[in-house]
């Protein structure tokens, strides 16, 4: 080792962190090298001055008391604006706000399929005429004659910009059946409806205002039928229509 390397060890030796052979080599060198010995002496003096011969700084009177006053036990501390209940409520509010569009979409989308159909059925059974023939009415319609249902009326009934048509049928026993078709095959999420799979096809049953409904997907449109008949009977009819259509 040369003087430069020993000089790098001066601080370590002054601070007492040189050990063993490293310490022995350094002490031997300092004995024989007056330059390094002098540097060592100067640095030791500086350390001694700072550690022992130097008055520590004194804080202004009252700092200790201020510190003590500020040391309140955690449980006695006044809850801040972001205490746990406040934070939890704020988080819940943010969550609800974020979820609101989804929830609204969820119920609206379910309404797209089923809502309004039951009301339509009640109007029909109450004798309210629904025979408005629209020029926009489609040529496509469900042919339910094989099951004894004759078409009474049809009209366009778009829902939120989505083309849809409503058909009213009358059965052989003077019972009524309302059917609604929606353009497109994009099926909304139906969380409240019960899904029944038959013949590789999904059917969704739903009951509202005393009216049973069944929805399913045709080749290029969605279909809902509504009746006061039992759910099982309406589902069986829906399966037959779907099977025949396909």
């Amino acid at each position: 080792m040369n003087c430069l390397e020993y000089c790098d060890q001066i601080a370590a030796h002054v601070d007492g962190s040189l050990k063993g052979a490293e310490l022995g080599a350094f002490e031997d060198h300092v004995k024989n090298c007056s330059e390094c010995g002098r540097k060592f002496a100067w640095e030791a003096r500086v350390k001694g001055l700072l550690r022992h011969g130097f008055r520590p700084l004194q804080p202004a009177p009252g700092l200790k008391e201020r510190v003590l006053d500020a040391l309140e036990p955690p449980r006695a501390r006044r809850p801040g604006i972001w205490s746990f209940p406040t934070t939890a409520l704020a988080a819940a509010a943010v969550f609800v706000m974020l979820m609101l569009p989804y929830v609204a979409w969820h119920f609206d989308s379910e309404g797209d399929i089923f809502s309004g159909v039951a009301s339509q059925y009640h109007r029909v059974t109450a004798g309210v005429p629904d025979s408005i023939q629209s020029s926009a009415s489609p040529a496509r319609l469900l042919d339910l004659s094989p099951w004894g249902y004759q078409l009474l009326s049809r009209r366009a009934d778009p829902v939120e910009g989505r083309a849809a048509r409503v058909f009213v049928y009358q059965g052989e026993k003077n019972d009524y059946l309302v059917a609604k078709e929606f353009d497109g095959t994009a099926f909304p999420t139906l969380r409240r409806a019960r899904r029944v799979t038959a013949s590789d096809k999904d059917f969704f049953t739903y009951r509202e205002k005393g009216v049973n409904m069944v929805a399913w997907k045709e080749k290029d449109f969605l279909c809902v039928i509504a009746s006061s008949a039992s759910q099982a009977r309406l589902l069986a009819l829906a399966k037959q229509i779907a099977t025949r259509s396909s």
Binding site: D8, I10, A11, A12, D15, S17, S34, E35, R38, K39, A41, W42, E43, R45, V46, K47, G48, L49, L50, R51, G53, F54, R55, P56, L57, Q58, P59, A60, L63, K64, R66, V67, L68, A70, L71, P73, P74
Partner: protein, 204 residues
């Protein structure tokens, strides 16, 4: 009849634990509060402003009290408090990102070499003794305050707060070798600065 706490090790631990929580504040006052002058001295050299130093010390104690349950009894409480103080200083009190190291090391090394040479040529006298025995407190304070932050911090922690290199490295969050190097360079800067004061007073 012996108590549950003395017969069941777990029970004893439970009692001690509950007792420790109950007396948290008094224990904190006993262990941490005597370090206040040391913390203030470090804060004053870190911030170089007495009012900021007092605020920094107060904030340090508040944070230390909040996390006192994390302090390991038997370890160096001063080093633990200085770690908190240093972090608060870095995050809250240091306005500039990092003071540039404006030290002209060539000039310092020349001055230092001259200082050593003067001592070598002074036959029969001891200039370093004269220098350091005559140094005024305010001169030492001024010299220490004038050091760039990294050297000022290292010298303060090791020489004034008496931390080991290992403890100072933890506080400064750097390797031990870096602490050693900063302390060495900081002391060299101090020697040159104090010699300047001594020359102005005609001591050397």
């Amino acid at each position: 009849m012996s108590s549950v706490g003395s017969t069941v090790p777990g029970g004893r631990f439970l009692f001690l634990s509950l007792d420790r929580k109950k007396n948290l504040k008094s224990e904190f006052e006993r262990v941490a509060l005597p370090q206040l002058p040391h913390l203030y001295t470090a804060a004053a050299y870190f911030t170089r402003d007495s009012r900021e130093a007092e605020d920094l010390v107060q904030d340090t104690y508040l944070r230390a009290f909040r996390f006192f349950h994390k302090f390991e009894p038997g370890t160096n409480c001063r080093a633990w408090l200085l770690s908190i103080l240093r972090n608060l200083f870095i995050n809250r009190y240091r306005r500039k990102k990092q003071e540039p190291d404006t030290v002209d090391w060539e000039k310092i090394d020349r001055s230092y070499a001259n200082l050593i040479a003067e001592g070598r040529e002074s036959v029969g006298s001891n200039p370093e003794r004269e220098l350091f025995s005559s140094a005024l407190d305010q001169e030492v304070e001024g010299a220490l305050r004038s050091l760039p932050e990294e050297f000022r911090m290292a010298v303060t922690l090791v020489d004034i707060e008496e931390l080991t290199y290992e403890e100072a490295a933890k506080v400064m969050e750097c390797p031990i070798g870096t602490v050693r190097s900063r302390v060495s360079r900081g002391r060299r800067l101090l020697q040159v600065a104090l010699a300047e004061y001594a020359r102005k007073r005609g001591v050397i």
